[in-house]
Amino acid sequence: MIRTLFPHLIAGWLLLLPLSAGAAEAAWAQAQARALWKHETWLDLVHYKAGTWPGTWRSHADDPAFFLSAQGRQDPRAELQATLRAFAEPAQAGDEHAQCRFVARLDWLRNELDLGELPQPDCAAYREFRQQVQATQAVLVFPSYYLNSPSSMFGHTLLRLDAGDAEGGSEYLSFALNFGALVDPDDNGLFYAFRGLTGGYTGQFEVDQYYKKIRDYNRDENRDIWEYPLNLDAAEIERLILHLWELRGIDFAYYFFDENCSYRILELLEVARPGLELSDDFPITAIPIDTVRAVQRAGLVHDKHFRPAHGTVLRQRITALPPAQRHWIKVLSAVPERLEDAELQALDEGTRAQLVDAAYKYLRYTQTGAARDPTMAARSYQLLRALQQQAAALPRDAPAVDPGASPDLSHGSRRLAVGAWSEQGREYLSLGLRMSLHSLEENRTGFPVGAQINIGNLDLRLEDDGQLDLNRLDLVDIVSLSPRDRFFKPLSWAVQTGIDRQWTANREHRVAQVNGGVGASGRVGPAGLVYALGTARLEHNHGFDDPLQPALGLRAGGLQDAGPLTLHWELGAERFANGQSRTRVDLRHNLRLARHQALHLQLLWRDQRGDDTLAVGLRYQHYY
């Protein structure tokens, strides 16, 4: 049978080959005449970026499966030629045929060139994908800052594709397009951070239902989500989905700072709307919120929507209740039977229903991240039953949760600072560059309460003799002050590492150090916050006889907002293993001049070398 078929197959090949191959060569001649491989769309579709040497190219895709030419990764021309040839190959390959795999390339080349009569492979897998993934609207989604995870502290971005009319609820079934690292669940956090920074992870696009993202962010991680609907039209969304299919299972190197989730989303948008230039603005870092702003500036965003975290909703429900009744929330969540108490029965129906609602939400909130507990499940069910019976008394339309200022309205992520200082009779100027993102006392618009997220802060000093010297370098400087109250009991913590200057044995030394602390914080009035942390520090200081010294200490402070002025005070005390001790009073005043400008006055008193020292500095800060 095979023997008899074989000659026929050969004959078929010989008949087919010259025809399609001829068409491919004709198309290639047209492409050559126009040097089509230099076209921006081609460069975008294959993710080429200009190389260091002028005229050289390199694709960000890190996967041989993405290229049809062996030189494709560096050679846009060879890749275009190979693509045209592969399109003309016999149709038998089916799903593996270049026409089935590179649907966006095919779509674009059909428009640009006369491809002639191409073979028609059966693209079953692609058809199935398109049956599932349809969209009339694209939305840029920003799950907000999450300080408890190194990978999410700057937030995250993904795209959502809505099918049909996106009215309440159907977004659950929308598709989320997410670029993320493929991680090994056995890696620990530190290892993750290291590999993430150095490109040790491979990243891929993932397409999954949006409700899973809602669950992950709103519930499991308790993060607010901001959604920015985009004005991509039908043809643009079509291009986006076509290209998305080409990226299925394709590896990209994942770099935490630049070639990250947000960067790849920008590239997708560039393919969707030819002529957009978004990703070129982010050569060093692609901080998610900056990429959101870039998309806004390009005129793609036409709306904003807030999807509150479970904790945010719970807080709002608690605040909506009269203060005198709020204790019932905890009582009911612990003992649902207390609903029968005469005192509670005497309350009006509406308040009672709201209490049950808040008690249910509170109980569920306390179980976030915990395994199923039969007692808790039984209690939750009791409250849910009670809620169902009293639901009619709930305010018909629950008051909307106040989202505060959206994160895109925050001050710029990078900061330039120029300052003048006086310390122990010496004057110097300071020049500072901070790569990211926000300090406690800075303009809090668009940032969560009590969050400080600084990575890469360099401060130089220029002495009056003209000498330039390092003032401080913070590689990582993160503080998370989450106020505790009756209902919420989060920990507050801080981590910092870098180089700073310390007076030791009557001389100022540059020291390398890492320090951290854990404690608690609470609210004072409507605009105040106080905190106290137990701290540990490891310092390498040549002023010590034995340079490497650990220390234990305490730090306590407060933040107070007064209009455009924020005051941040802190007291610190530390004792080193070698017996040396340090005391410190730090006063910082930050005056907001405009969204991207501030004046910063700092007074730092330190007692750590026998004599005490006082430094006073005034700094102008510009954010961009």
Partner: protein
């Protein structure tokens, strides 16, 4: 001997799967209410890395993963109820909400019938959720029985 051990092991695996998953062997619709998570530590990496472990999913939900699809709710719809079971139960309790609406959309319930769908589910809360150990699969089949018996919503269950 080796074969015997393997057979025994497979048998053990499949019986556990039967015991745990009403949707069929190896089916993941057996979530009970208030399932929670197995622990925060593995979760820390699995979901906070913005990444996925293992194979990245790519929008293909029509496969059945060994789960029976006997009702009218598609595989994707059932998976959603299973994943958002707590949100869904809370929405049914108050009679409105996005999770409840999303289930209506998954059933193809027209806009003008969504209110009726929400009311039906809300009023029959005790039938749908008789206790805290009810599974997503059981709730789906009860919901479909209720819809089928309803004059207005019966047409969505064929």
């Amino acid at each position: 001997m080796k074969r015997l051990v393997i057979t025994a092991a497979m048998l053990a695996v499949s019986t556990t799967a039967f015991a745990e998953a009403p949707g069929g062997p190896n089916c993941g619709w057996g979530n009970m209410l208030f399932k929670g998570q197995s622990g925060i530590v593995p979760h820390f990496l699995a979901s906070t890395t913005n990444g996925t472990s293992g194979n990245a999913t790519f929008g293909m939900t029509s496969g059945t993963n060994g789960c029976s699809v006997d009702g009218t709710l598609t595989y994707g719809g059932k998976a959603m109820v299973n994943n958002m079971f707590d949100e869904f139960s809370a929405d049914v309790a108050v009679g409105q909400g996005e999770a409840l609406n999303a289930v209506a959309v998954a059933y193809g319930v027209d806009k003008q019938d969504r209110e009726a769908f929400a009311t039906l589910a809300h009023q029959n809360f005790a039938t749908l959720f008789p206790n805290e150990n009810v599974t997503a699969d059981e709730v789906v089949s009860r919901l479909e029985a209720l819809m089928k018996a309803d004059a207005r919503l019966g047409k969505y269950i064929i």
